[in-house]
């Protein structure tokens, strides 16, 4: 019975391969998990002593070696806020255009997607140079929170559009056909069907983009600068968390303790923001009003 023999002998190698695959998968996860734990643990252990309420609320002293990070937090909030105010509406609109208005599988959409992916993969230092030349110099916004926010917006927009687009594509085929057969206008279809279904995905996309923006250093060095003072307006320069960490660690002897404390604040911010999508499971269609 050659067939029977072949069959039974093919079982064992298969299960051995299965075991190896499993071991590799678990091993990979363990390595990754250990790496993440190490980094997070390091930041927490070294930073936790420096973090206190006064650290968050006080002005820095001695180039940041002492005192707190209040102006840094304010600058960061303004830069990120500007960035997201630009990114969310324009990104959602662009994603809608890309997924709903252009012909499905058409060449125009494919070219635009390729362009977005290339821009999304561009090193952030290039965005910093571009932002400096365009916003700071050409548009005359100088090195300012506004320039930085707009530069960041350019940087995360492609990523946000692509993530939103995949959220929009999550509308089931049957639902799409119902919309077609009922000949609903695009406006109604978007407002009552597509956007409510895509909403949780859009929130995730926004959070992911925001985290990316929070972590950005290079693009902001050139555009918001590293002025360690409380900003008075959008057109003032400022220093964001990531730049502050960079500066303390690289340029300020004895700045390490506060660099770690600032890193812990940044980490906590990313973590808290990352929890938002978990709370947004569904949005009631009749509550979401977009006109």
């Amino acid at each position: 019975m050659p067939e029977r023999g072949a069959a039974s002998s093919s079982v064992r190698p298969a299960s051995r391969a299965d075991f190896v695959l499993r071991a590799l998968a678990w091993g990979g996860m363990a390595v990754l998990g250990a790496g993440v734990c190490w980094i997070v643990g390091d930041v927490v252990l070294r930073g936790v002593r420096g973090v206190s309420l006064s650290f968050l609320l006080d002005a820095p002293a001695r180039s940041g070696r002492d005192g707190g990070i209040a102006p840094v937090i304010v600058s960061t909030a303004i830069v990120i806020g500007t960035c997201m105010i630009v990114v969310i509406p324009s990104g959602v609109l662009a994603a809608v255009g890309l997924s709903e208005c252009l012909r499905r599988g058409g060449r125009t959409a494919a070219v635009i997607r390729l362009g977005l992916d290339i821009v999304a993969g561009t090193p952030s230092i290039a965005f910093g140079l571009f932002g400096h030349a365009f916003f700071c110099a050409f548009l005359g916004l100088r090195v300012s929170l506004l320039s930085g926010g707009l530069t960041l917006a350019c940087m995360v927009l492609p990523l946000f559009i692509r993530l939103c687009e995949s959220a929009l594509l999550g509308v089931p085929a049957g639902t799409r056909r119902a919309v077609d057969a009922l000949a609903l206008t695009r406006r109604t279809a978007l407002r009552r069907v597509v956007l409510p279904i895509a909403f949780p995905g859009i929130v995730s996309a926004a959070v992911f983009s925001l985290a990316r923006a929070l972590a950005e250093t290079a693009a902001l060095l050139f555009t918001t600068g590293y002025m360690l003072r409380m900003p008075g307006s959008l057109l003032d320069p400022g220093r964001v968390l990531s730049v502050h960490i960079y500066d303390l660690a690289m340029n300020v002897p004895g700045g390490d303790p506060n660099a770690y404390a600032t890193a812990l604040v940044l980490l906590a911010a990313v973590l808290v923001i990352g929890l938002v999508p978990l709370r947004v499971r569904r949005v009631r269609a009749d509550r979401l009003v977009i006109t």
């Binding site: 499905r104 639902t175 119902a178 000949a183 109604t188 409510p196 279904i197 269609a285």
Partner: protein, 280 residues
């Protein structure tokens, strides 16, 4: 078209809802002439010519892949959404050509409603499934729309079951209820023609029976085109029947006539084998 069929009402267990237009008088509603459809070069229908009478339930039967859904998709131009799909020939509804490029798709699809095989309620509330399309098409004021909501839900026998939870999500209904909601949604736009693509095949037998009775009740008020794989159902519920088959080369129509004739004295050998359960 065939001449008046005296059997028309007697074979049906339920009374007609209205007597105008009378069933199965030779009043053509949809006239398909020389219709050929291909998807990216692969023929899905070849040279189909048939007439669908007004106010009747016309069945479309045939083995899988013989172009039944394709025919329905042509009748309300859902084929437009498929880039590689080519449609040739003529389809006239009330003598007006609907394949012409200047046809207004929105009003065509309102006149020709489509119910799918899998229930596909919109992921909004039960009431909104009906009210949103009405509002979108600008039909009636608020009061009229609410009245229409109740009347179509009554027509599909859903009112008693959902009246107290109209604001709940439609996706929480059972499959059979969802399908009745989809039929109600289609009827709410007051179409003249209702296309149904195997509306019972995703449902259990009890729910299917409810839908089947409902389809019988649509006769005379609407022209119904019903695709079904269930020959017993075709026999029970349809007045006319069209049999499609893969002819060598491409799927096409092999026989059309009053249902009783198609099932009892088929003119075509393949039909005989098919309705006898021997092939297909």
């Amino acid at each position: 078209m065939t001449s008046a069929d005296p059997d028309c009402d007697t074979i049906l267990p339920w009374p007609p809802m209205e007597h105008t237009p009378p069933c199965c008088v030779a009043a053509p509603h949809i006239e398909v002439t020389g219709l050929s459809v291909s998807y990216a070069g692969a023929e899905a229908l070849r040279g189909v010519t048939l007439t669908i009478p007004r106010g009747c339930v016309t069945g479309i039967v045939g083995p899988s892949g013989c172009g039944k859904s394709t025919l329905l998709a042509v009748l309300n131009r859902m084929t437009d959404a498929i880039p590689a799909c080519r449609v040739q020939g003529s389809v006239r509804i009330d003598r007006a050509e609907i394949l012409a490029p200047d046809v207004d798709l929105r009003s065509l699809r309102r006149r020709v409603g489509l119910v799918f095989q899998r229930p596909n309620p919109l992921p909004i509330s039960i009431a909104d499934n009906i009210l949103v399309p009405l509002r979108d098409h600008g039909l009636g004021d608020r009061r009229a729309r609410d009245a229409r909501l109740e009347s179509v839900l009554r027509d599909v026998g859903l009112w008693e079951e959902v009246a107290h939870r109209l604001r709940r999500p439609a996706t929480a209904l059972s499959g059979g209820q969802q399908q009745r909601l989809c039929i109600a949604r289609c009827l709410a736009l007051q179409p003249e023609i209702v296309l149904m693509d195997e509306p019972c095949s995703a449902l259990d037998p009890m729910a299917a029976e409810v839908i089947e009775d409902l389809i019988g009740g649509l006769r005379h008020r609407y022209t119904v085109v019903l695709v079904t794989h269930n020959l017993a159902q075709a026999r029970r519920v349809t007045d006319h029947c069209a049999v499609f088959w893969h002819r060598p080369g491409a799927p096409s129509l092999i026989e059309m006539g009053p249902t009783r004739q198609v099932f009892e004295q088929p003119a075509d050998d393949l039909t005989r084998l098919y309705v006898g359960g021997i092939r297909g």
